[in-house]
Structure formats: structure tokens, C-alpha cells
Point group: C2
């Protein structure tokens, strides 16, 4: 029997471990995650982790590849689409990207931390999504606003979407805010970010 679906939550043992590893690694990071944490989260015997994945390191690699894809590749198709205009991209991306991040709030801080810990190893994974510098989006930014480095505007665009998720724990500590308040803040951003971007692109 291989790769088959089984009892429990209807997942194979291998898939249960991957799912547990996604949760624990993303929440605590590689170094703070113990293999016993993953086994417990999966509700499975620790030895099975090594049976199916050989080592903590290899299981992490599998999760990390997925998560880097999720964070970066998600946006690539739209960024590179030469058919949509600059303003269409600016209007569309925040809606879908913020939705994705609302479903995966730990994703940015996890991926960025792990990349910082090992830039040489994981940097390559990102580049798989094509050269950002030559993306349709960055070319359109450069075209529209010739007097500002398009990387600057690109950074603002991404940052306005991602930064709130990175500072969420701080924000909750600093500003008394319910979960609902926080979600509403981010829902508003879907509308606000396009407006702000257009302001930054105006006046040439």
C-alpha cells in the first residue's frame, strides 16, 4: 500500500506528517521545532517521521519549498502578465494577496526568518519565479514614474500588504484590538493600498 488515503482525518501517514510539520515549523521556526512536537501534532509515533522523511532536515526542506512558493509564486503570474495594465495589477493583487495572507498569517515572518538564517540555500528557491526586475509590473512602474527607482515603489507595494502581518503580535500588544478589528483593518487595506499606490505614481 502506497500513497493511499487512510483513516483518521482521511490522510496518509506521510501527509499527516507534512501537515503537522507545516503547522509547527511555520509557527515556531526550524530551530525551535522539536521532532517530538511534530509527531505529537500529527498524533503519530516519532519513529515514523524518520521512516518516511529520513530526518527533520529533509522534512523541513519539503515544507520550506512549499512555503516559499506560497509566499512568492502566488504573486508571480499577475506580476508578469503583460496583458493587464499597471492599474489593473495594483487593483487586483492586494485583494487576493491579503486574502491569502489572512489564511496564512504566519507565512511571511516564517519564510523571511528562515531565508535570513540561510540566504544561500533558500535564495535560489525564490529566483525560480523569474526575474522580478524584468517583470511586467516593474517595467510598468518604471514607465509610469520615471523619476523614482521602481524597486522603491515595488517595496512599498509589497510592504503595505505584508508588513501588517509581520507586526501583528506587536500591534495587538500596543493597540487594544480584537481579532475582528484586525481583520477589518486588513480588509480596508485591500481598497486603500491601490489608492495609495496611485497617489505615489501620480504627478510626473
Amino acid at each position: 500500500m502506497e500513497e493511499q488515503i487512510k483513516g483518521g482525518e482521511g490522510l496518509s501517514t506521510e501527509e499527516k506528517f507534512k501537515e503537522a510539520a507545516r503547522i509547527v515549523f511555520t509557527k515556531k521556526g526550524y530551530a525551535a521545532t522539536k521532532t517530538r512536537d511534530i509527531a505529537e501534532q500529527a498524533g503519530l509515533n516519532l519513529a515514523l517521521l524518520n521512516y518516511y522523511f529520513r530526518s527533520k532536515e529533509r522534512l523541513f526542506e519539503i515544507v520550506m519549498i512549499e512555503k516559499v512558493q506560497q509566499l512568492f509564486a502566488f504573486m508571480a503570474p499577475v506580476l508578469n502578465d503583460p496583458e493587464t495594465s499597471l492599474y489593473e495589477k495594483i487593483d487586483l493583487i492586494p485583494v487576493s494577496y491579503i486574502d491569502m495572507l489572512l489564511k496564512n498569517p504566519d507565512l511571511p515572518l516564517f519564510v523571511l526568518s528562515e531565508i535570513k538564517n540561510n540566504p544561500g540555500r533558500f535564495g535560489k528557491m525564490i529566483q525560480a519565479n523569474g526575474n522580478i526586475l524584468q517583470s511586467s509590473f516593474v517595467r510598468q512602474l518604471a514607465e509610469k514614474k520615471k523619476d523614482v527607482n521602481p524597486i522603491q515603489l515595488f517595496l512599498n507595494f509589497i510592504g503595505m500588504m505584508v508588513f501588517p502581518f509581520i507586526v501583528q503580535p506587536v500591534l495587538q500588544a500596543v493597540v487594544p484590538m480584537s481579532e475582528g478589528d484586525y481583520i477589518q483593518l486588513l480588509e480596508q487595506r485591500k481598497m486603500l493600498i491601490p489608492q495609495w499606490m496611485k497617489m505615489m505614481l501620480a504627478g510626473e
Copy 2:
């Protein structure tokens, strides 16, 4: 002999450990840091760490308090100064804050990661800097731009300064960029962020 300056780099043993701990903890995070890493970085015997600081945990606490202060308290005096106008704050803060971050590029990702790992414990440290919601700066933002939640604009302001440091490793992997290019990008931001903020505050 207590608290005295000694040979080596002219620091006391205790201070050498603190300095080593600042470097290693900030670079690798709490979980990935081994006490032996710190001893090696300090060039001292491992047992001295426990002799002077009792435990890894206590040494970390000392460093963490410092680093939280550095990241948050640095900005608090200006944010809370009712004497300076909104635009003065917007003009002045990016220059000094980006300079501080250029000297401590690992600071934001380190502090934000550790707070996420333990919001209850470290959240309190931040609040020591007064209620941000009632800061002069946020009140001035609300006054100037009545139709947008000032927290949104505050997030943008901080994010435009901090986010480039958080994504630095990614940026270097994605865009071929020398250290000098990167610094220049950030130097430009000192001028650009006030301009962008004023755009976002205009049109009422």
C-alpha cells in the same frame, strides 16, 4: 574586583558576554543560539556564562529588553513630542530611524520574531513606551486625515522604514544588488518616505 574594565578589548567579562550575546542572539534568534556559540564569540569559558548570568534564559532576557527598547523606544520621544508639527515628525523620523536601522539591520526581524514566539512575555516591554494610540503623532494623523484610520497611516509610515530591512536577504537574492546599492536605496528613502506620506495625507 567588580564591574571593572579589564584586558582584551577593554571590557569586563560580563560585558564581553553581553556583547557576544547581542551579536549571536540577534543574528540567529534564541532557539538557534547555543550557549557554546556565545562563549566562543566572547572568547571565554562556557562556565562563565552561567557564573555571571545564571542561565541562557536570563542572559537572553537582558539582551531582549535592550533590543526592544532600541527598536521601539528610539522613536517614542519624537512621536510623543507635542511641540513638533505632523510634517516635522514626518520629515525628521525617517532620517534618524533609517540611520539607526542601517547600524542594526538584524534588529527588526530579530525582535519581531521573538515577540511572535512569546507575545505575552515581551508585549509588556513595548507598552512601556506609552500608548501609541494616544501619541501626539497618531492624533495629528487623525486630525489631518479624518477619513482614514490613523493606524493605517502609522503602519505605512513604520513599514516603509522597517520593511526593507526585513526583506533584505530576499531582495539581495531576487535583485542583483551590492551592499552599496542597498544602502543607497535606503538613503533615498529618507527623502522619499516624507514625500509619500504627504501624498497619502493630502486631498481632504
